[in-house]
Structures are given as structure tokens and as C-alpha cells.
Amino acid sequence: MIRAAFIWLLTGGLTGTLMLAEKAIPFEPAIWLLLPVHISTMIFGWMIQFILGVAYWMLPKFLKQPFRGPRRPAFAVVCMVNLGLILSAAGHLVPAAGISGTIPLLLIITGYLLILSGIVTMAVLLYPRVISYRGGY
């Protein structure tokens, strides 16, 4: 999850650099289609995914196996969040390829629903680990 976050950091940084260059030296207005991709990759792909990954690693562990809770839902979170980001980015970019109508909207909504599902699943996994070893909440 953390390595995926680094990849999204580089993707978001690249899209941001392209838009900054276009802002200063206008050469291709279509680059501004990258703005929603830049926003979602930096917020959901980099920041939220990195923080969730570190939280999954660092929060207090359970006293018996599996120490960080069930592993399959955790892997499912990685798949959901990253697939959701790819779908939402595709939905923002397909109008540049001439595809319009309901397909871009469908891709965007599906993508963000997947991201939401992943975040909710991770929240459910992490919630019982937010404790103090001295007892209580």
C-alpha cells in the first residue's frame, strides 16, 4: 500500500508539473483534463493510502494471530483503492479520446465507489486496534 502510494505520488507530481508548465507557457489546453486526476491521485492515491498503510503497520497489534487482523480484507483494500483510482482517472480522461455520454460518468462513479469501499473496509479493520495497552479506549 505504501509502495503504491509512492507510485501515485510520482503520477500526481508528473501531472502537476505538466499543468504548471501549461499554466506558464500555454501549449496544450487539453492538459487541464489532468486536474481532477491530479487531485484524486494526490489525495486518495498518495496521502490517504500512505496514511492507511502506515496505520495498518503501526497501530497496536492483536495479542494473537493474525496480529493485524484478517489479511484477505487488507489485500482487498489495496486492490479496491488502486483499481478505483485507475477507473476514476480513466473516466476523467476518456472525453479526450472522444468518448462521451454516460461511460465517463459511470467510470468515475464506479472508481470513487471502489475507493470509498476500500477506505470503509480499512476503517473497519483498524477501528478495534485503536486502543491503549493500559486498557480502555
Binding site: 505504501i2 509502495r3 509512492f6 507510485i7 505520488l9 510520482l10 507530481g13 508528473l14 502537476g16 508539473t17 505538466l18 504548471l20 508548465a21 499554466k23 506558464a24 507557457i25 494526490m42 489525495i43 498518495w46 496521502m47 500512505f50 496514511i51 502506515v54 503501526m58
Partner: protein, 175 residues
Amino acid sequence: MPFISRLFIKTGIIYLILSMILFMLMQIPGTGFSLIWRPVFYHMLMTGWITQIIFGVAIWMFPRKLAEKHRKDQPVNTKGNLAAYNLVYLLLNIGLLLRWIFEPMVDSGITVTGATSTQISGAITQFYEQPFRSLAVLMIPLSGTLQLLAFIIFSREMWPRVRGKRPVSTPKKPS
């Protein structure tokens, strides 16, 4: 906590305070801090504060690279290539500084709503007039490039530190 981590985190805190001050100024009409400062505010918060806090804590907390962990000549608190982290700090903050100074110059010609510079008033906006705009055309792409380079170097340095525990082989004692 390594010095570079403290530097990242303290710089991040300063950016948080500055971004909040900018946000408050943006709410007050007539100060010149209008829509053109919105991208500056967002990036001051997201890149200046959150990302730098993340960088600082990650450098401090992530496991050392496996090759460095078992070297006998390394100091105990080695957190990797400190020169690379210092370079990341410089590239990121110089890039951000160039952005804060020059992005409003470019934006004073265009805005999110399409309003032109003649429709936006304010002493600060008027300061960013023609003589400096040609410099901004060079500095804006440079600022983006510096920030991207910082991200690339940081990702390259931290990638091998994202690892699990591995069994430590017991070194052979000399006979």
C-alpha cells in the same frame, strides 16, 4: 529523531500556520488575496504541510535498508542516504517557494472563473504586473520540475525501506 526529520516536520508546521493566515486573508475582501491565491493555499497545505510531515516521519520511522542494517561500520541511528534526504528538502522547498512567489503573477492574468486582471483589484495583485511576468514564465515550470525531482529522489530512497522483517543470519565468529 534525525535532524532532517525535525527539519521537515518543523517546516511543515510553519507552512500550516502560513496557509491558515493566507486562508484568513483570502476571506477578507479588498486585501488583494483573492481567487488567484487559491492554488497557492491548496499547495501550501497539501505539499508544504502534509507531505513534508509525511516525509519527515517516514525518514524517522521506516526500517533501515537491509544492506545498511547489518553493516558493522554504520552508526546506530543511520536512516539511509542523508545527503539524498537533504537534497529532497532543498528541492521541495525551493520549488514551493518559487511557486508561492510566481504563480500568482501568472494567475493574475487568468482565474478559475475567467475573470481578467482588470476585474481583480487589490494592492497585492497590482504588484504582480508586467515586468515580473516574463520571469514567472520560466520560474513556474522550474518550480514544478524541482518538486517532481524531490518526489522522485524521495521515492527512490524510501522504496527499499518499505520492507518486512527478515531473519537475521548470525555472523560467523572468527576462529
